[in-house]
Amino acid sequence: MTGTVEALINLMMADQVAIPLLDPILNILYGIPLLGHLLALILWKPLFAALICPGFATLGGLLMLLPWIERKLVARIQWRIGPHEILPQMGGVIQLLADSLRFLFQEVIVHRDAKQPYFLQFPVLSFIPALLPLLFIPAGTIIAIESPYGAQIVLAMVTLFPLFILGLGWASNSRFAYIGTVREAFVYFGYEIALIVSAFAMIVLYGTSDPLAISGMQQVPGIILNPVAALAFFIASAMATSRLPFEIPEADQELAGGPHVEYSGILFGLIYVISYEKVYILSGLMTLLFLGGGSGPEIRVLGDLSGLIWFILKTLLVMIALIALRAIYPRYRLDQALRIGWNPVFTLSTIAVGVSLMEVLLL
């Protein structure tokens, strides 16, 4: 028994997140029984990746922050201020906290026609496809599950998202939700292939789909190596995350929110963030594939955290780019989006594969 624990601890200690800056403090803390063990557990790279970054905690933090960033940024572009008075000193940064607490304390209405169990389950379950891919995305060197097929797995899981949206739209049993769901399904067909093919182009280019390897290989970022793929991937992720101009399933002015039209209270709060979860994952993937993941000038004192910070910064940049689209574009029609998905974007991604092949052959 003790042996197993000992072995486990050793295993964990061998794969700790190294932070030279905090070493002295950490060393003292390790000495304290229980707390030290707990710390060791948390700082164990796979667990750290799943729980802290890029996993659960970061996701949670971003979900609190991202809508605020979006609202502030869009407000700024729109010549106004955005959330402010709640905490004027910090530009109202806790606005989302108030909103989410309000949702939490609000009544959850399950209307008579809803398919009740599913109606309640799907918003909660939709965290699964959000969290699972995060296990395969490395933040610098920190990754939960190392796999040579990491990139494919992430892609596969990302495409799970629409299923949950279809589920909750179906469970709502409302006309607008239904139309939104159908639109979601259509758009899914529109972007999926392009997304996968453009990612495939990069895998071809790198010759590996191991996330750590991919980020390690990008002395020159992928976006420069294959800008066509980057563009195709970006557009496809805008479609995948239902950002404008492809905010077709939700289409506030047309469908009043589409799949989530019937949700209220905290259930809506959960659905509200799904699209931001998607944004995070796809931005992470984009960072990994095109922006070199956690690579960047290393800050020695931070050790492993250095790569992590670079990764987060780059991801944030991609996310902001995706978010800012809201302020720039109107919305396409469904058929137009599908045409764009199948025609220019798919063509771009195919060309991207060609570009990759050429580069591989030439270099």
């Binding site: 940024l73 700024r76 572009i77 010549w79 201020i81 302020a327």
Partner: protein, 242 residues
């Protein structure tokens, strides 16, 4: 006559327009041209002509009912005061702030203010009685500065000035020609003395004599409110220049 032709973009133009849109957004994100007025902390400076809540000067009022008669929403109704005269009351639950009343008031007894940002919790409280209209009301103010819209030939600028904006407006009484009531057809007068009864100032007086009624209009004190002219069932009265 000019014809509009719908544009047709080439691929190159497509890209150019995309870039332009993105460029605009980026430029505005970096140097925003915000026009937001942070009410409650600051309030827009309203011009003196602003049509807000009204205050009332009973000394000027001649009880001519002009405000009540013209009010399109029937928000102004006259209330009988202790002296038997009628003064306006305003139901802000009906008032549409057209200020027709103010423009109808020949004496300038109704005065504008820049008060307009008010919330009531009770509908019945929205009826403002005469007594409450005399002093300017007290409103919750959180503004520490006011914002003035300055529009020059190039753009709109927000000029922020610290301090509270004065909400009362000093409006001089309107220019007017004094008028008095007079009788144009004494023979058709029935001697019913309704004019005496409606005259809020006791200007028209009657004295019953042996063989009839003597009617007198005190021209010095006649305010020219015109109520007698309006009410005379035989239309023998008229307003004339003093």
């Amino acid at each position: 006559m000019r014809k509009v032709v719908a544009p047709d973009y080439t691929v190159f133009e497509h890209v150019k327009r995309h870039v332009e849109a993105v460029k605009t957004a980026i430029r505005e994100a970096i140097i925003p041209e915000s026009v937001t007025c942070s009410y409650p902390k600051e309030r827009r400076k309203m011009p003196a002509s602003f049509r807000g809540y009204l205050i009332f000067d009973p000394d000027r009022c001649i009880s001519c009912f002009g405000c009540a008669f013209i009010c399109p929403a029937n928000a102004i109704r006259m209330k009988e005061a202790e002296d038997g005269r009628y003064y306006p009351t305003i139901d802000y639950g009906k008032c549409i702030f057209c200020h027709f009343c103010l423009d109808s008031c020949p004496e300038g007894a109704l005065k504008p203010t820049k008060i307009h940002d008010v919330a009531y919790r009770d509908l019945d409280r929205m009826l403002t009685l005469t007594e409450e209209m005399i002093e300017p009301p007290e409103i919750i103010r959180e503004d520490k500065r006011y914002v003035e819209y300055v529009i020059d030939g190039r753009d709109l600028h927000l000029r922020r000035v610290d301090g509270e904006d004065e909400l009362l407006v000093d409006l001089p009484p309107p220019s007017k020609v004094e008028r008095i009531a007079s009788c144009i057809d004494p023979e058709s007068c029935t001697g019913c003395r309704i004019c005496e009864e409606v005259c809020e100032h006791g200007v028209i007086r009657s004295s019953v004599e042996e063989d009839g009624v003597r009617m007198v209009i005190d021209s010095e004190r006649c305010t020219g409110c015109g109520l007698c002219v309006k009410e005379c069932s035989m239309r023998v009265l008229r307003l004339v220049r003093r």
